[in-house]
């Protein structure tokens, strides 16, 4: 509410200034620096990091901050999602596909000077991530069939991972941060690990392998990083200009809990980068020239928003409603009734994209373009409903037993855009004679109703995805714990569900990338034909970037900074 009011206000002020000329308007110009090296990158965070312990970090601010300090064995290329070496210089997969041997880079050292060895890797997995006393939420993704990987050091620079079955996403999952044994072993032994490396720990004690070191953290105010002189960049990472990596001397992150202040600070030249929502674009594009920045539109963001239906026969809702939802023709009719273009225009200012299926088009490695697409087609929706035995009487739709089609659509109150999307769905299915009532609920309430009491009819929601399609197994496999539309692990309830189960079982053990892609292509075909989840629209990811910065490239997966150590400050801002 306050945000919208303010955006309108800001729009008025900024546009009136730009129209009335330059009176009082502050205009920036750029002056080249003598060398692009040794600069400082500044931007704002919306909240404080909650911990400096990578094993305990759960939300995005902490993981973002820790990304400067720690590295994993592998990393993901932000351009195409391919796995690249990081701490591990190379790896070999044996013929069984169950054993992967990693060779660590040469001369790797922790930022306190102690060499990093294979024993640190073994410690990180066996003593930290797999330790039941450690509050590590990542433990699940590091398991196959509930069994941990077997991690052994063969020598100081070689470490072997063995899995119970071949595990295709292994390389992606091994991007998790490696921790220093020499500093943390004691905390693990004494059972104090869960309070170690908290936000109150003196910065010098946080030791990693990333391009930067933590220099100073003032809670609620700022975090400053300075270059790690012992940093050795991942193999193959080379910048366009000579100089040791990272090019920057420091990174300064201010904690500004309010999006309006963040925007104003960016406009005033106090920060170099800001992530922009589509509704802010008109305001910002007017100011871009005077304030020396450009808007980079990176294409559809990774977020996911979908509609799903309660197909659970044991749910405490009228059984005839479950019968509608279990009918594919009904689900397809809803999918055809939605005008996604209108949703994008109304909610995202025209800057968004429809999502065709469970894999985002920006995930080039796995996206299947040949899936069933649901264009806005109300006539077809009506035909499908007739075919499914529904009848219109006047302006109302009834099923073959004479029940009027009325549905409760739930979503969570924390997201205004989901609420407006739900309201648009409501309006769009009205011509079909379907009456939807939108019920926004607080997140915890909603998740209790969906996951425990199963008392819901239709749901508009989003889940965080992973790059590797196997991350969808918990949602799509019929016994997955987030199999929203029919939970309970009672096995597949339809032949197509059985096939999806089989595909996921096969996909995770298939290491040949071409065969693997075929498997997940088939899954996407089934998913879009059966539509247990109707995917809606996502906003474009947009970043405003100060013109002083170098090393900026919009990437579909990794924001505008492909690698933090390649960023430079080419020039500086001067108030004209």
């Amino acid at each position: 509410m306050t945000v919208r009011l303010f955006v309108v206000l800001l729009l008025l002020v900024v546009s009136s200034c730009s129209r009335s000329g330059t009176s009082g308007e502050r205009v920036f110009s750029l002056v080249p620096r003598s060398s692009p090296l040794h600069g400082t990158l500044t931007f704002d965070l919306l909240s404080d990091p909650k911990t400096f312990n990578p094993a305990l970090a759960q939300e995005t601010t902490s993981t973002q901050v820790l990304g400067y300090l720690f590295r994993g064995l592998t990393r993901i290329s932000p351009y195409d999602g391919k796995i690249k070496p990081d701490l591990a210089a190379r790896w070999r997969v044996d013929t069984s596909g169950r054993r992967v041997t990693f060779t660590l880079g040469k001369g790797l050292r922790w930022s306190d000077g102690v060499p990093l060895t294979a024993h640190d890797v073994v410690f990180t997995f066996n003593r930290v991530y797999y330790n039941p006393a450690v509050a590590a939420a990542v433990r699940d993704i590091l398991m196959v069939d509930g069994k941990p990987f077997r991690v052994r050091a063969l020598d100081d620079r070689t470490v072997e991972f063995e899995t119970a079955k071949p595990f295709a996403p292994l390389l992606e999952e091994l991007g998790v941060e490696i921790l220093p044994e020499h500093l943390l072993a004691k905390a693990v032994d004494s059972g104090r690990f869960n309070t170690t490396w908290s936000v109150r720990t003196p910065p010098q004690e946080i030791v990693g392998t990333g391009p930067f070191r933590l220099e100073k953290y003032v809670p609620g105010q700022y975090i400053r990083f300075s270059r790690n002189p012992l940093y050795s960049p991942p193999p193959g990472l080379r910048g366009p200009i000579p100089g040791t990596l990272p090019y920057l001397d420091s990174v300064l992150l201010r904690i500004i809990p309010n999006q309006n202040s963040e925007l104003l600070r960016f406009l005033a030249g106090k920060s170099d980068l800001i992530s922009v929502s589509p509704s802010q674009v008109p305001v910002l594009s007017d100011a871009a020239k005077a304030r020396a920045f450009r808007l980079l539109i990176r294409g559809p963001s990774q977020a996911e928003i979908f509609l799903t239906f309660n197909e659970n026969p044991r749910a405490p809702i009228p059984p005839y409603k479950v019968d509608w939802f279990r009918n594919r023709l009904f689900r397809q009719a809803i999918a055809y009734a939605l005008d996604r273009k209108a949703m994008i225009n109304v909610i995202y200012n025209g800057l968004g994209a429809p999502v065709p299926g469970p894999v985002s088009p920006s995930n080039k490695e796995f996206f299947n373009p040949a899936v069933t697409r649901y264009h806005h087609d109300p006539e077809r929706a009506k035909r499908l409903l007739r075919e499914a035995g529904f009848r219109m009487k006047g302006k109302r739709l009834y099923d073959s037993h004479g029940h009027r089609v009325t549905i409760l659509l739930m979503t969570n109150t924390e997201s205004p855009e989901r609420i407006s999307m739900a309201q648009m769905v409501q309006a769009m299915v009205k011509p079909l004679g379907i009456r939807i009532r939108v019920v926004p609920l607080q997140f915890n309430m909603l998740s209790t109703m969906v996951l425990s009491s199963h008392q819901w009819e239709m749901l508009l929601f989003g889940l965080t995805g992973t790059l590797d399609p196997h991350g969808n197994a918990t949602v799509w496999r019929s016994n997955g714990f987030l199999h929203l539309w029919n939970p309970g692990g009672k096995g597949p309830s339809a032949p197509w569900e059985a096939e999806v189960d089989r595909l996921f079982d096969e996909g995770v053990v298939t290491l040949d990338p071409i065969k693997r892609k075929k498997i997940y292509d088939r899954w996407q075909e089934i998913a879009t034909w059966e539509v247990p989840m109707v995917d809606l629209v996502v906003p474009d990811a947009i970043t405003a970037v100060r013109l002083t910065l170098g090393g900026i490239h919009p990437t579909p997966l990794g924001g505008v900074i492909p690698h933090i150590s390649l960023v430079t400050q080419v020039s500086r801002l001067v108030l004209r």
Binding site: T2, F6, L9, V13, R26, S47, T51, N53, L56, Q58, E59, A133, A135, A137, V138, R139, D140, N194, T195, S198, V199, R200, K216, V218, P219, G220, Q221, Y222, R224, L252, R254, I255, I256, P257, N258, N260, S261, L264, R265, L267, A268, Q442, F443, N444, M445, S447, T448, V450, L451, F461, L463, T464, G465, T466, G471, N472, T474, V475, F481, L482
Partner: protein, 322 residues
């Protein structure tokens, strides 16, 4: 007098117990807990959530949980924040002084300006000065504080006179302590003015009507008729009687010192209790919320006690009543 104070303080203990118990009950009744956010994450299995629940002691029955917390509290331990992985007392300890600095400055500004101006205005009630201040106070009452705060930020961005949010600049390590204090004060101006402006209107109107009422009392005429010095009339007869109704208000202001600035803190990025508590409530960080509630309740009770003591000192009618 002493007996009354002792009685009040012991009552306060009971009230405090009631407040924290009710808050605990409400936190328990609300659906979900700190770990519910994870329940909808496809990457975290119910098994891991269950083991975390056990580690955090969230699986215990309600009374056991409450007694556990209350017993630790009696030993000065406010518990542990789930999201920050540090003791609650450290978190609150670093936020309370910042909030108090902001709100106390604001109270000083608003009381320091509203009272003298109200006395001045009331003596020439209906004059130009009084009328313009009256309309200004309408504005101050009706404009919501978050909106004022946003205008303040816009002013900072337009003019460059003030920093845009935050409480400190990232000064170099070589900066002296005077630089640091100056920097802090520079950041303090806008948020404290915003807060002060919001309460100015109420104070001005209350004090003004109170002064007008006292001026027309017979004892004022009598005092003037006896030829008492203006200064004596002012302090002993006028001010002391007029300020009486505001003392209760002052007690409430003291109670609101910790919690009253949440909006302003959010918008100006002031690292105070408001921000911490909002986040704690949203993530259901149980012991952090309880710590905040406890601090707020203590301050409210102390504020009321202080107001009553002040009344006792100022007003002989109250004194004789006890």
């Amino acid at each position: 007098m002493m007996r009354a104070v002792v009685l009040r303080v012991s009552h306060m203990g009971l009230v405090l117990l009631g407040i924290v118990f009710l808050s605990f009950v409400m936190m328990d009744f609300a659906p979900g807990d700190f770990l519910s956010q994870m329940a909808m994450n496809p990457q975290i299995s119910p098994r891991v959530i269950a083991s975390l629940k056990e580690q955090y002691g969230l699986g215990l029955p309600f009374f056991e949980q409450f007694l556990h917390w209350a017993r630790a509290l009696l030993h000065g331990d406010m518990g542990y924040s789930f999201s920050y992985h540090v003791p609650v007392s450290t978190l609150i300890g670093e936020r309370v002084p910042m909030t108090l600095l902001l709100t106390a400055t604001a109270v000083l500004i608003s009381w320091g300006t509203a009272l003298p101006l109200a006395v001045f205005g009331a003596r020439r009630a209906g004059g130009l000065f009084d009328r313009s201040l009256l309309s200004f106070s309408y504005l101050s009452i009706s404009v919501p504080s978050f909106f004022l705060a946003l205008l303040g930020l816009l002013l900072a961005e337009r003019t460059g006179w003030f920093p845009i949010g935050g409480a400190r600049s990232a000064l170099p390590a070589t900066a002296g302590s005077w630089d640091r204090i100056g920097d802090l004060l520079h950041h303090l101006i806008l948020p404290s003015l915003t807060l002060a402006l919001g309460s100015f209107g109420v104070l001005y109107r209350l004090m003004r009507s109170s002064v007008i009422e006292v001026i027309s009392q017979p004892f004022m005429t009598a005092a003037r008729g006896r030829g008492l010095r203006d200064r004596l009339i002012f302090w002993r007869y006028l001010f002391r009687n007029a300020v009486n109704p505001l003392v209760t208000l002052f007690g409430m202001e003291l109670g609101g010192l910790l919690s009253g600035a949440a909006f302003t803190e959010m918008i100006f990025g002031w690292p105070g209790m408001g921000r911490l508590m909002l986040h704690a409530v949203m993530t259901r960080d149980l012991y952090l919320v309880m710590g905040g509630v406890l601090m707020g309740a203590i301050l409210l009770l102390l504020g009321n006690l202080l107001a009553d003591l002040l009344l006792y000192l100022l007003d002989p009618r109250v004194r004789e009543g006890t």
